[in-house]
């Protein structure tokens, strides 16, 4: 039957190469304490679009109602600008959900201005131009990708400039505004599915640890102190079963923090 054994071997090899192997079966349970090098001080911070991707599936809230229009000034302390930059990028996602072209374009320009203020303007120039162009054509999926990309690029540039602490503040600013919006949406029509999205206590702990580990000069900045206090207030609420009341309270606290970030501008 095997007229050409070599051909059969080649064909079998190609077939095996084309089919993903299941490999060794992984254990059904592992002891996470055996990974001491990976304590929760290092956690992957999700991109805003990962949250908004789920929100898309939860219905059609009134996004226009969630939009803010803060006066963005590019002068201020670096800590405040970094927090504001993260918050403004998160605002960009809300504007995309609201399909508000003018607002998205204004946010693209704000991102550029704020990036300039902390010396990473060249990193995001192409992204911000693209945000404006793609908003004009209503290509919302691409705008989201550019906003995610701008956030990543800014943080990467800061790490390169030995400014990892500021990069954490950018992430934190985005998380705060994102959480404010998320709690506002969940509050409007409370559902366990919506509230489940707030189950992020390890992420909150990560941000708390990042702030606690900052050099005293940054940690003692009044705005950073204010944010640290706010996170401490949220912590017990996120570490217990979420209720409509706790969601409302988290919304109030994050809202106050976002206002504090804006008002220092």
């Amino acid at each position: 039957m095997m007229k050409n054994p070599f051909a059969v071997v080649v064909a079998t090899t190609l077939l095996l190469a084309a089919i993903p192997s299941l490999g060794e079966a992984p254990p059904s349970h592992i002891d996470l304490s055996k990974f001491p090098a990976t304590q929760l001080d290092d956690i992957v911070v999700p991109l805003p679009s990962e949250v908004f991707n789920v929100l898309d599936k939860l219905g059609a809230p009134n996004w226009q109602e969630q939009l803010r229009d803060p006066k963005v000034k590019n002068r201020g302390e670096r800590e405040q600008i970094a927090l504001l930059l993260g918050s403004v990028v998160a605002e960009g996602f809300v504007a995309v959900e609201a399909a508000d072209k003018a607002r998205v374009k204004a946010i693209g320009r704000d991102v550029l201005e704020l990036s300039r203020a902390i010396g990473v303007e060249s990193t995001v120039l192409i992204r911000t131009n693209s945000i404006v162009t793609k908003a004009d054509s209503g290509d919302w999926i691409s705008v989201r990708r550019e906003l995610d990309g701008a956030l990543t690029d800014v943080k990467t540039a800061m790490i390169k400039l030995q400014d990892a602490q500021l990069a954490h503040l950018v992430s934190l600013g985005g998380w705060l505004r994102g959480t404010e919006v998320l709690t506002a949406i969940v509050q409007k029509s409370y559902s366990p599915d919506g509230a489940d999205l707030l189950n992020q206590p390890d992420l909150l702990r990560y941000f708390q640890q990042r702030l606690a580990g900052m050099p005293p000069r940054m940690r003692n900045n009044p705005l950073v102190t204010r944010i640290q206090k706010g996170l401490d207030e949220i912590s017990p609420l996120l570490n217990q079963k979420l209720t409509p009341d706790s969601v409302r309270r988290i919304n109030e606290i994050t809202g106050q923090m976002v206002k504090a970030i804006d008002s220092h501008a």
């Binding site: 290092d42 992957v44 911070v45 990962e50 990467t156 599915d193």
Partner: protein
């Protein structure tokens, strides 16, 4: 853990001696390719480092219920074998699918709940003492 989690930015400034990490990143992105074609959005970040044989590392990550994730791993060694699996915060295997093929591996999860999950990466075979690896992920 931080020294094992290397952002692309840091890859740009590593010395030429670490150039193989770039190959690991390329492998991970290659493993992700079919899923990008299926509409998964690939995150423009990479995590990586080097591992000894049978050495494992865990990457904690907040995942959201409602999203569908693929985590893909690659290594720089043609003869290396790698594995990637996903566990929940109690250490229970939580992945919905996974595969391994030589220096590529991937795992998929549709999280049952939003929360912290652990991505466990491992080099299961390699002729080298240390093997460079990288991980990327996508979601939809």
């Amino acid at each position: 853990m931080r020294r094992f989690l290397i952002l692309l930015s840091l890859c740009a400034i590593i010395t030429s001696a670490d150039a193989n990490l770039d190959d690991a990143i390329k492998s991970a992105i290659q493993a992700m390719d079919p899923y990008v074609k299926q509409g998964y959005i690939i995150r423009d970040d990479q995590w990586g480092g080097d591992l000894g044989l049978r050495e494992q590392k865990a990457i904690p990550h907040t995942l959201f219920r409602g999203n569908d994730y693929w985590f893909c791993m690659g290594s720089d060694g043609e003869n290396a074998r790698v594995a990637i699996h996903l566990y929940d915060s109690r250490g229970k295997l939580a992945e919905n699918d996974s595969w391994q093929r030589s220096r590529f591996a991937a795992a998929r999860i549709l999280p049952a709940a939003t929360g912290t999950y652990y991505i466990i990466v491992e080099v299961t075979a390699s002729p080298k003492e240390r093997t460079n690896w990288a991980m990327v992920y996508g979601y939809k």
